[in-house]
Amino acid sequence: MRFLQNYPNLLVSAYQAVERLLKLFQRWMVPGGFVERVFIPLEMITKGPLFDCRMCGQCILHSTGMTCPMTCPKTLRNGPCGGVRSNGKCEIKPDMDCIWMQAWERSARMKTYGQEIMIVQGPVNHQRKGSSAWINDLCTDVERLPEGWQP
């Protein structure tokens, strides 16, 4: 199912549809509750095959051309490192395509969120690892960035 990542606009539409659906049940979507226990495996079986999702619990797919930045061996969230090989392969895994080359290309094709790749992303909150990114996203009171991070 990875090939679907080459259609970022389609994925964005799918996300929007899911978001509309989930918003109806927003009052039950709280971190740590029963609903989250259902959502975690649900996210694993959908985002796993699609994006090779690593369950960081804080999706920024819309800012990375619908390419999961946590699959980068350095887990970079702000763009490619300076070690990309001339053939476009990863510095660390010579057989793997640099995911940031793909991210930038896909992002250029994205209609709505194409410019979001220029956002300076803050560090990952490791406390959120393994939790449901969908629930974290919908509950605005879930703190993701450190308090002192300057947006």
Partner: protein, 321 residues
């Protein structure tokens, strides 16, 4: 002045800056650092203290900077995200500032597999861009990432790296823009052996107006031999050496390759100096520090390093005296 460092003063005054990399010793003897610093300090505006580059363990950049500041040298402390998390890095930044370090180069760092201890745990808690933003927050806002206030703010001239020579080429200027947005005051690039590629990159950078917001120093360095060049491009991440350069080294014949490598470096400095938006060079002479002074002199950067086009007024004033 953000930091008051010599490098900042040189760059903001429009002079052509020269920085050089100090190869960190595998030694507990401080004289190993001072011997190397001595030959570099005379000819450059700042000395880069590398942070286990290529993931090979050497004396730490904090340690080298402590020695250099103690002797009155101007270090550029390299901080890589590979080995330390945000807690360690913020603490090191404060400690460095207290020792008198004013220039910091924020890097992601090479992967551990390229080094001598490939089994080590890679950290990458921050990346180069979030590290830049973190350092800027310490300096400008005076608080940690946690929001906790500092009693006294550090004064930093913040740097980042750029590598225009590897893909995705067309997005490299945009990535530079991101570093500028995150807080970069200066940029040091990876080794430049492909001047036409650099020209394309710099044209895009100037078109985006980034050259007015950040000082760009181009990385250069002498190649010891054709064999060393082939080894570097194979094993050092991010280093691109065109075949033409290697052929030229081979053509020089036995015993003359080192001189040819130095000559190539001098020529590249002279070429990049003419490119719009280039504010200086960063000389990385791996295990050939003794050549740095000769290279800088032969490239015509001594004794006064006026940047063509910039600061012209002052140099003509001087000539009239």
């Amino acid at each position: 002045m953000k930091s008051g460092s010599r490098l900042e003063r040189v760059l903001t005054s429009g002079r052509f800056a020269v920085t050089a990399e100090l190869n960190p010793p595998d030694s507990a003897d401080p004289s190993a650092v001072y011997d190397r610093a001595l030959v570099l300090a005379e000819v450059c505006d700042g000395i880069n203290a590398t942070d286990a580059s290529g993931a090979n363990v050497h004396m730490s950049s904090v340690g080298i900077c402590a020695l250099l500041t103690r002797a009155g040298y101007e270090p550029i402390m390299q901080v890589s995200c590979r080995d330390r998390n945000r807690i360690a890095i913020q603490g090191d930044l404060l400690g460095a500032a207290a020792m008198g370090v004013r220039n910091v180069l924020c890097l992601t760092g090479d992967g551990v597999q390229t080094g001598d201890q490939p089994g080590a745990k890679p950290v990458f808690d921050l990346d180069s861009i979030s590290l830049l933003r973190t350092a800027r927050t310490l300096r400008d806002e005076g608080h940690f990432l946690s929001g906790r206030n500092l009693d006294s703010k550090p004064r930093f001239f913040l740097g980042g790296a750029a590598n225009p020579f590897v893909p995705p080429y067309e997005y490299r200027p945009q990535r530079l823009a991101k570093k500028v947005a995150a807080g970069a005051d200066f940029i040091q690039t990876q080794y430049c052996f492909d001047v036409p590629r650099l020209k394309k990159f710099m044209a895009a950078v100037c078109q985006a107006g980034l050259n007015d917001q950040v000082h760009i120093l181009v990385g250069v360095g002498p190649l010891r031999s054709a064999k060393a060049a082939e080894w570097m491009r194979k094993f050092v991440p991010g280093v691109v050496i065109p075949d033409a350069i290697i052929d030229r080294l081979k053509g020089a014949g036995k015993g003359k390759q080192q001189a040819e490598g130095k000559q190539i470096c001098v020529e590249i400095i002279q070429q990049v100096r003419e490119i719009d938006g280039v504010c200086g060079v960063h000389v990385m002479a791996y295990r050939q520090e003794e050549l740095v002074a000769e290279i800088i002199e032969e490239a015509g950067l001594l004794p006064r390093r006026w940047q063509p086009g910039r600061g012209k007024k002052r140099s003509s004033e001087e000539a009239s005296h």
